[in-house]
Symmetry: D2
Subunit: 187 residues, 4 copies
């Protein structure tokens, strides 16, 4: 199986990018043979959704991402909450991707994690973040995980140094891969 892993924050030093790169590696460790690709949204320079831009053509980066998503067995999103709800870069990505036909989210397994320096781990926003994915037809895993005080747990390129967090994230990734594999099987 092959997965995409997207970080919902744009800035280079984002905790969610570290978590995303950790997940890329961890998916393969937990289930040998599994591969995953990290998507950094910052260099894609996606504009805010605007129907007048769309009329001139959906941005090439969006079409490419939609193709990668269609080809993948699922998506892991590592995202901050912004103002108690979905982060603008994530909502913007979704609003653009929703314009691509065929729509790449239909039936797609999605796992959402949140890393946050705060105590709550972004858990409040996760329940708003999943809604548009579900509206677009994705199967968002019920078990989301928020990693609080993430600035003390995530570092470097892709290091998670917190056994308690890993104890939540690992089974979530295992469940997610099992789920994706089951959905992939013929009935």
């Amino acid at each position: 199986m092959h997965f995409l892993v997207i970080a919902g924050s744009l800035r280079a030093g984002s905790l969610n990018k570290i978590l995303a790169r950790w997940a890329v590696q961890r998916l393969g460790e937990l289930r040998p043979g599994t591969s995953a690709t990290f998507i950094d949204l910052q260099p894609l320079q996606i504009p805010v959704y605007d129907g007048d831009i769309e009329a001139q053509g959906i941005p090439q980066s969006i079409n490419a991402l939609a193709q990668q998503l269609s080809a993948a067995d699922g998506l892991v999103l590592c995202t901050p909450e912004y103002n108690g709800s979905i982060a603008a870069p994530v909502k913007n990505l979704l609003d653009w991707l929703s314009r691509v036909k065929p729509q790449p989210f239909i039936g797609k397994p999605v796992q959402i994690f949140a890393a946050s320096p705060g105590a709550l781990g972004g858990v409040r926003g996760l329940w708003h973040t999943r809604v548009p994915f579900e509206v677009l037809g994705a199967h968002v895993m019920p078990g989301m995980v928020g990693v609080g005080q993430a600035n003390t747990k995530l570092s470097g390129e892709n290091t998670l140094n917190d056994p308690a967090a890993q104890k939540q994230l690992d089974p979530a990734l295992e469940n997610f891969m099992n789920f994706a594999q089951k959905l992939k099987q013929p009935v």
Copy 2:
């Protein structure tokens, strides 16, 4: 496969009860060999959740329902929206069921429909209705269906007389059964 079908409204003449009984029959028609059981919540006389009642023992009807749910391959819920959100009888059922160990919703496929005499078909409340199911670990199908003007479409014991509504409900039930079957398979 075997499914439970629950109506979220208590009153005997509820449109959602007609829709639920229609779904019971339709599941078997669409996929011969499939069976389904309609659960009428009204005669169960479930009290409003109260920790002091629980301390004396979870109501027998709740324990029985939890067992039926654990044994089923999935749940179809036909529910009204009350005040733009989850109907009290549904939330109350969930709050009681959440107290049973092991928790019967973990990994359980759930399909939500809404029948409503109004034009919007209860669609606003559906997105709040799914949240506690997901919190409890269920896989709620992304494609929910709201049947508006349902008083002109549903009648008798279990009659749906509206091709347009059926054209939405049938594929939702098919997807749901496919999904449940895939989840049931070993990896």
Copy 3:
């Protein structure tokens, strides 16, 4: 001004009942001349909403509560979250009150607090709890407060023993009373 204070949990030993009774007293301390009445839902024995019961008459306790609410300058709700969303006793109360005409929530100021033994203080459920109040026309204060680890902070009949929590609750109550007073003034 006069306020109602309702606890969303039924059981006698509920942390939210302690917080509610604390709020009753604190409203008067913060603004002398203000009075507040604590409503304990448990003895009211409100049945789960059922249109067949309603057809025989809205329960007397609901009609009485609607009148008290109409006469009050606002409502303080102290409520647990159940399964990441609104507590069943609260949703059930709202679904019954919504059937009373004229509807008592229109334009009514509402302040929501949550006490919880957990670390998150019920904050996840608060954002679902406010929705049906708003659907019914209430002005729910944006600043909700969740008191986490409340079992170590609330005790006795109405004692809050935690300066940090009080530092959040006091200004919320002050803002709420100012807001209610402004809405009460003629334009």
Copy 4:
């Protein structure tokens, strides 16, 4: 009093821009002496929120908008729903404005309308749209209005040609102005 009116869609021909310009004019008609300013987000060229951009300085357009908002007695937002939730341009605007200190939304009255060519009038997304405004401290009016089939009702620069829609929008605007005036008064 003075209000800002923002359209949540960027494209020039947006139905929500027509509705927003209608609201600008209607506020003054309903209450002589009231003024309102329409804000078109498209020419502001706001980038998707990125902490690395912010580190080099919040965009000038955001600072200017925050000042206008702070000086205004309230905000009217006319917005589409995108994928069942908040439109990306609106969430992005909020995520940027949330970074300005002092935060301009605290205690600010906000009225939300939605225009949509669909039958539901965007009503599903409205309940997600209000959340981050409330998280930021705004008083979002409980009575939101969705104008369905808006392509047949809105035209030209600022024309609303539908008595039924106007019958919902006018009292909402009146209530909103009364509310804003009451909040403006000293206690």
